[in-house]
Structures are given as C-alpha cells and as structure tokens.
C-alpha cells in the first residue's frame, strides 16, 4: 500500500518538476552595450554597496583576455574568483591596475577599494558598485563602437577584425604582473571539426585567431583537456550550457547565434 502512495507522489512530483526547468525558450538578445556585462555580488551587500557591474567591452579594447584571466588571475564565471576589497587594496585582481598609479592610455587608473574610505570616496566606489544605480561612465559605447567594423551579434562589433586592422590594440603584457613577453606563439594550423549533423558546414577552428587574445594556458587544459583531436566530443547542448567553446562564446565572445562564424566551411 505504501508503495502505491509513493508511486502516486512520485508521479505528481515528476509532472511538477519539468515545469521548473527553463530550456527551450527564446531569451532576449542583450543590447550591444549590455553584452559581456558581469554582475559580481559576493560581498558587496555586506559592505552596504551595490553589486559590481563589470563591462567587458571597455576592458577588452585595451587588454587581451589573457592578461586578466591568466596573468591577473580572474576566473571565467561571475563570482567564482572571490575578489575582496582587501585583495584589491593590496594590488591584486582589480587592484592590479586600479591602484591610483598605473597609467593606461595616458590616464591614471582610479583606485579600487582603498584601505581607508571616507565620504569623498563614495563617488569612486560607485564607479564599479553601480548595479541598479544611475552612474555616468567615462566611456561611451556609441562613441567607442562607431569607427569599428560591425558584426551581427554580441556587442555588434567585429572584435577580430578590429584587432587585425589595428583599430584597437589590446595589450598582452602588464608590467610587474605578466611573465611572458610577445605574441610569438607556435600553434597548430587551422583545422576542421566535423559536426555530427550532415548538412551542417564544418567548423573551421583557428588556433591563431584564438591565441591572439588567449595565449595557450587560458584554454588548455582547463577548458579543453583532450590532447588528441576527435577524442572529446563537444555537443551544441554542452556548448550552449557554457562548457568548452561556450565558456566564452555565450557571454563575452561572439555568441552561438552567429552560426556561420564557426560553421564556415561549405559542404561540398
């Protein structure tokens, strides 16, 4: 008798359970200036500050992905690094550049999270702790993006071409922090990945295009462990959930809706 009741309850739970998951729906496309926005909210609440809003587009125009995610050491998921005000004040993480001394593009970078905070500092704090607040930024997306080649999705900009043409010059070396100098990477040649679905164009993967921004250790081995091509199968389901290619190509690099950027080899 107990078994029957258990089965009945289980059935009801199953019917209710599937309503809670959120796949199979079309979400909004983030606006060009919103794409790549990261909200960091580990400890801001405890300090009575609004969560931090980090805009990728401002930073990636000045530095490669590698500088922040390898040399400085940020994780690739919001909240995963565990940045504290103390870390910043000591000159780590955000404080690596945001220390009131480092000069970038002729401007001194404002200090993040100083040890002693007084009332005048509030204006400085809200420059980052701005979630939900109306804070004027030094950087205007429209002005910034106007001269750059356009693309369909994400920030609406072709970052790859912008870097190629020299319209942006992201630095790959940070004085006092970075170890490797220069971009002379010896990498594999471009190669094709065959999709499982017949009729879909092959994916042409270019190591060169990726190492310009990432170096080697950003992806290997943590994001891509396989040493032999073909041993690890990447599915679009996994990628769209933020694994492998999806670590970058869902939130910061061009998104997955831009099919032809990867599936670019026509099927003969």
């Amino acid at each position: 008798m107990n078994k029957k009741i258990f089965i009945a309850l289980a059935l009801i739970l199953v019917f209710c359970g599937s309503a809670l998951s959120q796949t199979g729906v079309k979400k909004k496309r983030p606006l060009p200036y919103e794409y790549g926005r990261v909200i960091i909210d580990n400890y801001s609440d405890k300090a009575n500050l609004a969560p931090v809003v980090f805009e990728h587009w401002i930073h990636r125009s000045m530095f490669t992905c590698r500088v922040c995610h390898v040399d400085v050491g940020f994780a690739m998921k919001a909240g995963a690094t565990g940045i504290t005000a103390a870390d910043n004040a000591r000159g780590y993480y955000c404080g690596t550049c945001h220390n009131g001394k480092r000069v970038v593009d002729g401007k001194t970078v404002f200090q993040a999270c100083s040890r002693k905070v007084n009332l005048e500092d509030e204006k400085r704090c809200v420059r980052c702790h701005s979630y939900g607040e109306k804070v004027a930024s030094d950087f205007d997306f429209f002005k910034f993006s106007e001269p750059l080649p356009k693309e369909r999705f994400g920030n609406g900009l072709d970052w790859e071409k912008s870097e190629e043409l020299g319209l942006i010059k992201p630095a790959s070396f940070l004085e006092g922090v970075s170890t490797s100098k220069g971009n002379a990477f010896v990498v594999q040649k471009d190669f094709a990945l065959n999709p499982k679905v017949e009729g879909m164009p092959d994916i042409i993967f270019s190591h060169k295009k990726h190492t310009v921004w990432n170096g080697c250790e950003l992806c290997h081995p943590e994001i891509f462990m396989g040493v032999k091509k073909g041993t690890v199968r990447y599915s679009m389901v996994d990628i769209s959930q933020g694994k492998s290619c999806g670590v970058c190509h869902t939130t910061v690099a061009f998104p997955l809706t831009d099919c032809q950027r990867c599936h670019s080899k026509p099927v003969s």
Binding site: L9, L11, G24, V25, K196, M200, M236
Partner: protein, 278 residues
C-alpha cells in the same frame, strides 16, 4: 461493525482497503491534473491570438502596451525582430524601456521616425518631441479608437485556415512578402543550406509521428532563432521533450501556442492524426 468486535484479520483488511482507496484516489487526481495539462488551452478569437500585453511600467507610464503579432508578421519575418532586433519570446524578458526605444533598440530599431516602410517614415516610439507623440498607438490597452489598423479589415484578403489566417499559404502565394533584412539593423550573411524534412517519432507508440519541415520554418526564422536557444542541438534524438513542454510554451510551444498556428491543430504536425486508430 465496531472495530473492537472485529477479528484481527478483518481489521487489517479494512485498513488495507482504506489505503488502497486513498492511493487510487491520489493516482486518479494526479492523472486528471496531468491530463488537463496535456490538453492545449482553449483558443481565443483569432484577432486576439498573438496579442502581447506589455505591462511592466503601466502604473508609472502612459499605460500598458498592446502588441499585435498579426500586424508585424505580415510585414516582417520572425527572425528580424527576434534575432536582429533581439526581442525575447517570453513576457517581461526583454526589458523594453522608453530609454532603450529612444536609443534605437527594441521597438526603436524601426520606430525611430526615420526608417521608411512602404515609402512612409515609421512613427517614433516614445518620442521626446512634444508634437510628435503618438503614445496611444501602442499604449492602447483600454483606449478606444487609438489604433490605426484593425484585424478584420487588415486580414480580409489573407487566406484563412483552421484557425484565423493561414500564414504559410499567405507567404507562399505572395499575398504577404515579409521583409527579412533591414539596412542598418541586419548584417548580410552567407546563407546556410536548410536541411531536408524529416520525421520525429513520438515518445508513445500510440501517437502518430510528426512531420517536421525545416524549410517551412527557416523562411520565417532563419537558423538562429531556434538554434541553439530553443533547440540546443540540431541532432535528432538528443533532446527529449513532450506535448507537456510544448503546452508550457517551450520548444515547439515557444511559437506554436502563442503566435504560430496553435497546438490544437493536431494534423498540421501529426498528419495522420495525433492518436493511433486501428
């Protein structure tokens, strides 16, 4: 017979019977509840189908917005709005504000007072200019006479089907020519070859298979409207969903329950009927 006078065996039997009745009752209730969910919702009038009420800031602004899909889908493909402009397909998910409209996003991507359609400039949405405010054309919930186009007159010449307009036939016959590219908004891309039609086996043996046509869908949607957000994989058989999910508004139900032909029209997908009949 009072329990104290019953024999032990019969008391156990009575308890067992009670439990059995309770269990059956629960199962029946559960089944009835789930059966309700397996049936598509009753349909509104065709003129109301696809109507979206945007009511995020109605208490502070000029009132709720009424968006009729029939007006826009006769002029543009689904892809243009849901991919290039970037509207979500769920209530409250896009985050449209007067400020984003004025910046040239969301509604303001076309409703900017400058872009031309059929030779005429499209009125600006949420315009700041005092003499150019046509707020009630969109913020029209409950307001009579505010809207320019009415369903009956507008769709009078369109071919009709099982329920309202047969959009597929309308597009095929050329009665409507939905625009898929807007200069300054869309980016030209190398076209991808559409896959052949294929059959999807239903999860239950007593349900007839579904005929799916990529071609019919990609006319309106391109590839990126569905892939990868609605259907994360193009490989058949890797994601499992049921009519339950469709009725909830996911997968096929993301469109076919709100805007595209409704799920009540079983034969459109299950050409031999939904249920197996000997």
């Amino acid at each position: 017979m009072p329990t104290c006078l019953m024999r032990k065996g019969t008391r156990r039997n009575e308890r067992g019977l009670l439990l059995l009745v309770l269990a059956c009752g629960v199962l029946l209730l559960g089944n009835t509840a789930s059966a309700q969910v397996y049936l598509p919702k009753p349909l509104p009038e065709p003129s109301e189908y696809g109507k979206v009420i945007l009511d995020n800031y109605s208490t502070t602004g000029p009132g709720a917005v009424v968006f009729d899909h029939w007006l826009h889908r006769s002029k543009f493909t689904c892809r243009l709005c849901h991919v290039d402009v970037g509207f979500a397909m769920q209530a409250k998910a896009t985050g449209i504000r007067a400020s984003t409209n004025r910046e040239g996003f969301h509604c303001g991507a076309c409703h900017d007072g400058k872009k031309l359609f059929e030779g005429r400039p499209i009125f600006a949405a949420c315009s700041d200019a005092a003499n150019d405010q046509q707020c009630d054309r969109c913020h029209s919930l409950g307001k009579k006479g505010a809207r320019k186009y009415e369903y009956k007159e507008f769709t009078a010449k369109f071919p009709k089907g099982f329920y309202g307009v047969n959009w597929e036939a309308a597009e095929r016959s050329g009665v409507i020519k939905p625009v898929d590219f807007v200069e300054g908004l869309s980016v030209k891309k190398a076209p991808m070859r559409s896959r052949e039609d294929f059959t999807i086996k239903a999860g239950y043996s007593w349900v007839h298979p579904i005929n799916f046509s990529h071609e019919k869908h990609s006319i309106w949607n391109g590839c990126e409207l569905c892939h990868p957000e609605i259907f994360p994989t193009a490989q058949k058989g890797t994601i499992h969903f049921s009519m339950f999910s469709n009725i909830e508004g996911r997968y096929c139900g993301a469109c076919h329950g709100k805007v595209a032909f409704p799920l009540n029209n079983c034969q459109k997908c299950h050409p031999r009927g939904p249920l197996w009949a000997p």
